[in-house]
Symmetry: C2
Subunit: 227 residues, 2 copies
């Protein structure tokens, strides 16, 4: 199917150009940006509720929520006093991931000169979101322990491109037959260097460490990907 | 992006033609086919291990496993004495779903005159697999209760097109704050009629009911989708 590949390559080039422009725009306004990815139900939004509220103690936070449809996640964040906007990909051919064009549209919601951190929660999907640069500075993948030990091996692009891996729902360890060492070993086989945090939005386990990592990345001069 | 849409429409037409030919080929050989879909880690393979072994007591079973990469799921089935073949989509542009072309290739592994039931486990993904007809007679979506109550609302195409919805990992009910009535209500808002089974591969809850449904569908004259 050579036509498909050619057209996709052209679309990807266009996506990367828009993403680079977004990253420059955010850099100009000193906004640090995160792209949070993971399976449906891995706990991205619950984690984000805690992370955004804690970060808001010292920074001005904006959130872009991505889903095929519904505004539920935006409403969850807004209820906590977080400035959030929803992208429904049903308006963009129902794609299974966010792309840079959608982010460019959503940024119109914010006055970037009044933001310090922009957090983007991608569509729940362990495959395609990893293939699209959306102008972020850092990528976080949220992996629930309920998904089993083998997902880092089966979805290598997602884990390989992550700047930080969050192993989530640690409060469920007692209820599961799960080999945490095997999860870490499988993560390390696809991503030998990025930090791994073990978290629970219920017990708040690992939240301090994750927040410290985010603050540390924000304090560094943002890296321009693909520059 | 009109180019993308035109090319995709053309590819979908081609996919649907191959899928229709597969369905006819299976019908000619009296093979009943199932397409099992769901999120990464929703428990599709664990469920399939039980289902395939039980079905094999009275039928000749073949399994096609779909993943981006690894042959782990094929190996799990083969270890139980099930004839299984792996599709790694990394050989097909790393797509996040199976399509009819891949199934046509994988069918070469089987002597269809010696099969009664073909079970296809799709790539773990709640979005795109639902958009591709792969020549199946019936679709099952496996939804883990660990994914929360709102997924049927957020991924409506997957739940709407399912012939049967399996709410899985019921053994974890005591460990979770989960509203099962709300899950069923959300399933019903996108799919008012298909049966819903509550299962656990650990305790075997709901397996008899799910197996009875599969046998019942197999006994019916297979329906030709889109005919």
């Amino acid at each position: 199917m050579p036509n498909k590949i050619e057209v996709n390559q052209s679309l990807m080039q266009s996506n990367d150009q828009i993403a680079a422009a977004i990253r420059q725009q955010l850099l100009d306004k000193a906004v640090f940006s995160l792209n949070i990815m993971g399976s449906p139900g891995s706990g991205k939004t619950s984690l984000l509720e805690t992370v955004a509220v804690r970060l808001q103690e010292s920074s001005r936070i904006g959130v872009i929520e991505g889903d095929i449809t519904t505004e539920r996640d935006k409403e969850r964040l807004t209820a906590l006093g977080i400035d959030a906007v929803q992208i429904s990909t049903i308006l963009y051919n129902s794609t299974c991931h966010l792309n840079a064009l959608m982010i460019r549209d959503a940024l119109a919601h914010f006055d970037l000169s009044k933001l310090d951190i922009l957090i983007i929660e991608n569509v729940g999907n362990l495959v395609c979101p990893a293939e699209f640069d959306i102008g972020e500075n850092k990528r976080i993948v949220v992996h629930s322990i309920t998904e089993g030990e083998d997902k880092p091996l089966k979805y290598p692009i997602m884990f390989h491109t992550a700047d930080c891996i969050v192993v989530n729902k640690m409060d469920l360890v007692p209820a599961l037959k799960i080999d945490l060492k095997l999860i870490e070993q499988n993560i390390r086989s696809t991503n030998p260097t990025s930090p791994v945090f073990y978290t629970s939005a219920t017990t708040k386990q690992g939240m301090d460490e994750l927040l410290a990592w985010i603050e540390e990345q924000k304090a560094k001069k943002p890296v321009i990907r693909n520059a």
